[in-house]
């Protein structure tokens, strides 16, 4: 007599929901991981099925980062929490000049979350990772009771390789340096706002969520150490990033309002919502500081990359012991561009 073959029922992705057994360490969890995560992220390191990924690294320096994602809503025009998690982590690595290699992903799932949505998110993550040329090599899944989370939270880590001789850092801005942004400001924050249930307005604005390491790679290759630093202006927008750099480098910053690239639709939506695009989040843009001599070359390198098409020179670093970020308004008057006070838009990433 042969033993009856162990048959497990197929995961009902279409109608099923996350339940507590999916986080319990038993067969249900194994099935969820196999059918949704392995299936979506498919790569050799993950396929080994170990609790960690083991890989070779070449000699040199590495960059490492970690990030958490709690965006609401989970799906928004131009992306979702999955693609956002990949892009955000890749970009944090890329801002150091690193080539991103491997990511980890940890999922906190709320009991009752539809498996179809989870699969959609995982597939979107897998696609974003493949497109960016990085692998999601290890992960974790936990389930919490209904009401203890909001659908799904994702936390990631990432490692990347920093090319020899590249020394980008937020404390390297010097008076005279040029300040560039890679494209239009505020698209992500406004796209999120436009899809919130209590704030629906018809808009064509989609999130700019994108992996920037292709663009940063080209910038580093072209300008070397004339490129002082890069940073992605996510939460708090351009204003927060410029204030961070001013303090980190002990300098002042002057920008020109007329030079800021802002889509008319974004400006209009901000007008309606009482927001300032300078404080609204971006997920596919970067700010770069360069030596004055290299500014023009850097701008043309950015312009020739699809993600830097709308790049613009927006201002300069000045000596200022108060570390003020100042802006010449389109009127010719002056004002400070301060840190954001309070929370302008909660849970945008």
């Amino acid at each position: 007599m042969t033993a009856p073959r162990l048959r497990s029922r197929k995961l009902d992705v279409k109608n099923g929901r996350v339940d507590l057994s999916h986080g319990s360490g038993g067969r249900a969890m194994a099935q969820l991981i196999a059918d949704i995560f392995h299936d979506s992220f498919a790569n050799d390191l993950l396929a080994q099925g170990n609790d960690q990924a083991v890989f070779d690294i070449p000699a040199g320096r590495m960059a490492m980062t970690t990030d958490g994602y709690v965006v609401s809503p989970l799906f928004f025009p131009g992306g979702d929490i999955g693609s956002l998690a990949v892009h955000g982590t890749v970009n944090d690595l890329a801002m150091s000049g690193a080539k991103p290699l491997y990511l980890s992903a940890s999922f906190i799932l709320e009991e009752g979350f539809p498996l179809a949505d989870l699969q959609r998110i995982a597939r979107s993550m897998g696609a974003a990772a493949r497109e960016a040329g990085v692998k999601i090599v290890t992960g974790d899944t936990k389930v919490v009771e209904r009401g203890k989370a909001d659908g799904v939270f994702i936390s990631t880590a990432g490692v990347g390789l920093v090319p020899d001789g590249v020394e980008l850092s937020g404390d390297r801005a010097r008076p005279g340096d040029a300040i560039l942004v890679s494209g239009t400001l505020g698209d992500h924050g406004v796209a999120i706002m436009s899809s919130r249930e209590n704030l629906q307005f018809e808009t064509q604005i989609v999130s700019d969520s994108a992996a920037l390491h292709g663009l940063t790679g080209a910038m580093v290759a072209a300008c070397g150490n004339d490129l002082r630093l890069m940073r992605d202006p996510t939460r708090g927008g351009l204003a927060a990033t410029l204030n961070e750099i001013a303090h980190q480098s002990g300098v002042g910053i002057r920008i020109e309002e007329d030079a800021l690239p802002i889509r008319p639709e974004v400006a209009a939506a901000c007008e309606l919502l009482g927001l300032d695009p300078l404080f609204v989040a971006n997920e596919g843009k970067l700010v770069a500081f360069s030596s004055p001599e290299a500014a023009e070359k850097l701008l043309s390198v950015m312009h020739s990359h699809p993600l830097g098409r709308d790049a613009a020179l927006i201002g300069h670093v000045v000596a200022d012991e108060n570390h003020f970020v100042q802006m010449t308004t389109s009127f010719g008057g002056g004002r400070i561009v301060d840190w954001l006070s309070g929370e302008q838009l909660p849970r945008i990433c």
Binding site: N198, A268, N322, F331, G332, G334, I336, D338, G342
Partner: protein, 380 residues
């Protein structure tokens, strides 16, 4: 952006600045108060003071509803939110305003109170309909602009027969406050104000009529102006001309939105629901007679003050706070010992720092580079 860019044109602004410089007589000084926070914000946001000659001074008035809400009323709202069964609906600006004991709605929410940020009175009304077991209180604040929507919501609630929707009414009246600024005993000791940049949105509702008696009685020039920066520049030019010609009239720069009579329909809704209080406290100004609204007896069942038996206890500002003097133009933000030291937009001590439209917050956020800022005044 059509219908907005036209009023933010830098070229036109510079041309207007030239006209103002030509019109302003060098031997005269001009002191104009913009009453509304919306104007204060536009002036700071676009750096308009840099475009005006030195003898024109803009004094930032008390027209920011969050700023003038007395601490005692904030305490009432926080205590309301902490009661079991109550859902307090509020505009986001009020979340961080500190009460008398360091409490705030955002802290109360973190401790378990059901506080929800809404964008309109209708959101609050919808919550009351969807959650009949919650007692939903709308934290109603603002000038004549936000009063009609509150009135509409209450009329609608009455029509629907809702038993779980209430308004905690803190609506205040602009003309009474402007009058208090020039007619109160304290104003005798104040910097004399030559003219007012009159409210924009408020005037769309109340019209230009309510300002006439004031202009005449107190011999003050009034120019009602829109909130766009070019509106403000144009209004300053019109005020300078009035002063030069010895006129004290009500002029309307904002003709694209403001009429003589205002919005009659909105006025009717307000009159159906509200009546004038004998007196109300304004933070920074003290008690101002006939300066606020309360719900009429017919709406008593919706009046949070009555239903939840609220008796406001006045709470004092920090004694070092100079908001009263700043609002009357006697002092500038930088003259206050607390400004930029203990009092910042993150940790506001006085009314002028509470909302981005307050004069101290606007100066801190946009204009503090103009002060010879001592080291300790930097943002931490």
């Amino acid at each position: 952006m059509k219908y907005v860019d036209e009023y933010r044109d830098g070229r036109l602004a510079r041309a207007l600045a030239k006209k103002i410089a030509l019109a302003a007589q060098p031997d005269k000084s001009y002191r104009f108060m913009e009453f509304c926070g919306g104007h204060t914000h536009a002036i700071a946001r676009y750096g308009l003071e840099d475009l005006l000659p030195a003898n024109i001074r803009l004094i930032h008035g008390p027209g920011c509803p969050v700023c003038v809400l007395p601490i005692g009323r904030m305490d009432d709202a926080i205590k309301l939110a902490q009661r079991p069964g109550i859902t307090l609906c509020t505009y986001a600006d009020l979340m961080r305003v500190p009460g008398s004991d360091g409490q705030s709605l955002i802290k109360a929410k973190a401790a378990g109170a059901d506080v929800r940020m809404v964008y309109s009175t209708l959101d609050a009304l919808r919550i009351a309909q969807e959650e009949p077991r919650r007692q939903v209180v709308f934290f109603a604040i603002g000038f004549e602009t936000t009063t009609p929507p509150t009135a509409m919501a209450l009329i609608e609630a009455q029509k629907l027969g809702l038993k779980n929707f209430f308004a905690f009414c803190n609506h205040v009246l602009t003309p009474a406050a402007i009058q208090a600024l020039v007619g109160s005993p304290e104003s005798a000791a104040s910097v004399p104000i030559d003219g007012f940049v009159g409210p924009a949105h408020v005037s769309t509702v109340i019209g230009t009529k309510p300002y006439h008696a004031f202009a005449e009685n107190y011999r003050k020039a009034v120019v009602i102006a829109g909130f766009e920066p070019l509106d403000v520049m144009q209004a300053v030019l019109m005020l300078v001309r009035q002063i030069n010609e010895g006129r004290h009239e009500v002029e309307n720069e904002y003709i694209r939105a403001v009429t003589v009579d205002g919005n009659r329909k909105a006025q009717d809704f307000v009159a159906r629901v509200f009546e004038v209080r004998d007196s109300f406290e304004w933070r920074g100004l003290g008690q101002v007679p006939f300066s606020a609204l309360k719900l009429r007896e017919e709406f008593a069942a919706f009046d949070a003050e009555k239903v939840f038996d609220i008796h406001t206890v006045a709470a004092k500002d920090n004694p070092a706070c100079e908001c009263g003097e700043i609002l009357r133009g006697v002092k500038k933000p930088v003259d206050c010992k607390l400004f930029g030291t203990l009092c910042t937009p993150e940790t506001p001590m006085g009314s002028c720092m509470v909302s981005s439209e307050g004069s101290c917050a606007a100066h801190w956020t946009y204009g503090r580079f103009r002060d010879a800022a001592p080291k300790q005044r930097q943002a931490s």
